[in-house]
Amino acid sequence: MLPRGPHKAQEGDPSRETGTATVTSLARPWNVIVHDDPVTLMTYVTDVFMKVFGYSEEKAHTLMMEVHTTGRSVVWTGARERAELYVYKLQAFCLLATIEPVDA
């Protein structure tokens, strides 16, 4: 797993017990976004989606086409730690990938 930032709310952590906003912030879902670039091959993007997320070829192809035609695609949504791990893997394959909170 990726190392996390300095703030992690744990059981017994005062910020967890008294900081409602902090707990809400940690719990909210994050999107994994893949952005289009002119250089990466379409077949390669499909292959990476299948490897990183375990998506079927059909789903991976659909998401790749959304990236290609609209400039970006939300390829996964969920807990921040998992989203960061996916972006790490996607960037390691040299795709342009970012995370953003769902309500951003």
Binding site: R4, P38, L41, T43, K51, E84, V87, Y88, F93
Partner: protein, 157 residues
């Protein structure tokens, strides 16, 4: 150029023309380029959220940089097997288990080369034979060689 997988699971890249062999031998150098534009592309931002991006730069970016250097070393090691075979061109072996390092490394090399040679997105849609500028045409040929090998590794995956 053609690919075949042997009984041990290694991929043999065979019948390479000299320009193909020469292009592939430069892949580690392109991945490791210290051109700021290349480093920016290979190590992009992690989030549109400022706080998340700052944490990303501090914690994840160095790890991704190390991964690219690892890909580069794997590719350099496999390329040590490159050998001329007379009229059959050059050949080399991609060891079993190195395919993902090659795929990621080739993608990184394509991006680096695209920036180093100052190509533009519109160049990628042009018919290479119709490109009048010799330098740009040669760059597009080398870029397509990298893409060809990526495609073939996926097909033989």
């Amino acid at each position: 150029m053609k690919l075949n997988r042997d009984r041990e699971g290694d991929l043999w890249v065979d019948s390479l023309a000299p320009i193909c062999a020469d292009t592939l031998l430069h892949v580690p150098e392109w991945i490791e380029s210290d051109d700021p534009a290349v480093r920016d592309r290979l190590l992009p931002k992690g989030s549109s959220d400022a706080e998340a991006d700052a944490a990303w730069r501090k914690l994840a970016t160095p790890e991704i940089e190390r991964l690219f250097l690892s890909h580069s070393e794997i590719i350099r090691k496999d390329l040590e097997s490159i050998e001329p075979r007379g009229r059959k061109g050059f050949r080399f072996r991609i060891r079993q288990g190195h395919e993902n390092a090659w795929l990621a490394g080739l993608n990184a090399a394509r991006h680096a080369f695209f920036l180093i040679r100052k190509l533009e997105p519109g160049d990628l849609n042009r018919d290479i034979e119709q490109v009048a500028d010799d330098d740009r045409r040669e760059a597009l040929i080398r870029l397509s060689i990298l893409g060809w090998l990526q495609h073939e590794i996926i097909e033989n995956g």
